[in-house]
């Protein structure tokens, strides 16, 4: 069933992809025999066929993940999004320390080791990557101190 649902969703995307290739995409002049539209038409149509084949003959029956696991993963994705949201405004050190603490705590670490780990990931990561390796990382609100 889950195969069918997924293949159905991909089918919708692939159909939209093909429809756009047949309607919207086109060059004002013909530069080459195929133009920008033929390739998407070919691969999009093949993708539609593959999805149809999967819907007719699905393979996996059920989705082997409990509600609890899915909830854990949803929390994980939420944490990642929060990290992405805070990454630039707060800067690498603070956002990384907060994220590392939250995630390692969530995965079962105790407060003290998690805190130690988080601070060393944030500060150590910044020193290593920005100061030694000269990679581009955001300084954020700590800008005037760094």
């Amino acid at each position: 069933m889950i195969d069918r649902i997924f293949a159905g969703a991909v089918l919708l995307v692939a159909l939209a992809y093909v429809v756009l290739a047949f309607t919207v995409i086109g060059a004002p002049f013909q530069y080459d025999p195929l133009g920008p539209e033929s390739w998407p038409r070919i691969i999009g149509s093949l993708a539609v066929l593959c999805c149809a084949a999967l819907i007719i003959r699905p393979e996996i029956e059920d989705f082997s993940a409990s509600k609890q696991t899915l909830l854990r993963l949803a929390i994980l994705v939420g944490m990642l999004c929060a990290y992405a949201f805070l990454f630039k405004p707060l800067g690498f050190i603070i956002s990384t320390t907060m994220f590392s603490f939250a995630l390692s705590k969530f995965l079962g670490a105790r407060v003290k080791p998690a805190g130690l780990f988080a601070v060393s990931a944030g500060v150590g990561g910044y020193v290593l990557c920005k100061m030694i390796l000269d990679l581009n990382l955001p300084s954020g609100i700590l800008k005037q101190f760094l």
Partner: protein, 497 residues
Amino acid sequence: MDTIINGLGAGFAVAFDPFNLMLVLVGCFAGTLIGALPGLGPINGVAILLPIAYGLGLPAESAIILLAGIYYGAEYGGRISSILLNVPGDAGAVFTTLDGNPMAKKGEAGRALSLSALASFFGGTFAVILMSLFGPLLASYAVTFSPSDYVALMVFAFASLASLVGSNAVKTLLAALLGLMLASIGIDANTGVARYTFGIPDILAGIDFLVVVIGLFGMAELIHLVEQQVSGKMKALKIDKSFVSWADMVNVKWAIVRSSFIGFFIGILPGTGASVASAVAYGTEKRISDNNGTFGKGDPRGLAAPEAANNAAAGGAMVPMLTLGIPGSGTTAILLGAFLLFNITPGPAMFTQHPEVAWGLIASMYIGNVALLIINLPLVGIFARMLTIPQKYLTPLIAVLAFIGVYSVVSNPHDLYMIIGLGVMGWLLRKLDFPLAPVILGFVLGGLFEDNLRRALSISAGDWSILVNSPDSIVLYGLAIIVALVPVFLRKKRAKV
């Protein structure tokens, strides 16, 4: 022959440059570490560290030497978690657990680790030697390929992908098509027409290769790790004082030679890397040598075979990538993308246009294999300690590395959301038994495939028969049909027996 000797000479001059030599060692060491971490394999390691290597601003040959070191270093390191933990780092190391872990349980962990290090060394070195012999040959032949021949080559690549990778050909094909579709987003270079950009300026130049790689192989792996997280500690077996003996080496010598051959040639086939190679090598060895039913119970030959094969496959997979521009495995697809980031297009012309990169890489692999053998024999204890790094610290670290990588290269906060989204998609695909390597192969090859098709039809003014006009392309289509039909025949044969 002259070109090979001259090329190797020039290559070693590049590889023995002190800075590059250091990068070989750093790459091998980091690769072994990553390979030894349970759950992380070569493809995740290269994916996570690629943007950081790129962000360092190294010259092209140095960055490639570093990344390649991580690649085959991780193939080496994968055996450590397979043997001591019974947890393979990736699909290529699964068969190492079958005899490696029982040996460790019998109190022969030291023997298993040293034996497999030697087997890996032979497999890896064998592959580099064949690569330096056949690579330039293949490249000089492929220089004459016309665009229509390239189209045939791509068809062959995708046919072998669909037939040999994954359990379900339709799913593998769909995965490759998704990669091709992702690659078609952005401005069409030939006409300047925007495709599937929906007016979003960020994706006019196409979706960044680094973002796709980090999303599909870094973030998806992270989500997978959290899903699989086992409560309680995994117990790693202790390394004892036992060591490989001369009699062991004599015992496994044919297993290593056979498996190196198998590994190298399977590695060359597009899309099929270490996982298929080690499976075939183990199966073959079991059929030939397993007279007393000792395979699976700690037979040294059953350990040496997959280890020699997966390291030989790692080298074999580099051959089509370097000479034809068609990667032989998921990880080499990422390496191909790395070449493109440096504005070097791997392919037949690379050996003449960028000899320092092509030969420097090959020479560095000779050095790397020796270095890996040396660091893997006495230092194996250090790597084994990595096994006990708890997941609760490893997991956040992967996310932080992925974020550093994407931000330091692309510097666009939106791409951070993009990798999370692609990570969820990659996790879902994996969960539904879609192989991920074809997605990245499709993504990397998409532009090349389309360009060659359009160039071929421009030459013929729209006549499609140009695609089957040369003997080379007809042979390639023939091979594609054979590769596509082989599994069907095998299945029928198995059904009869």
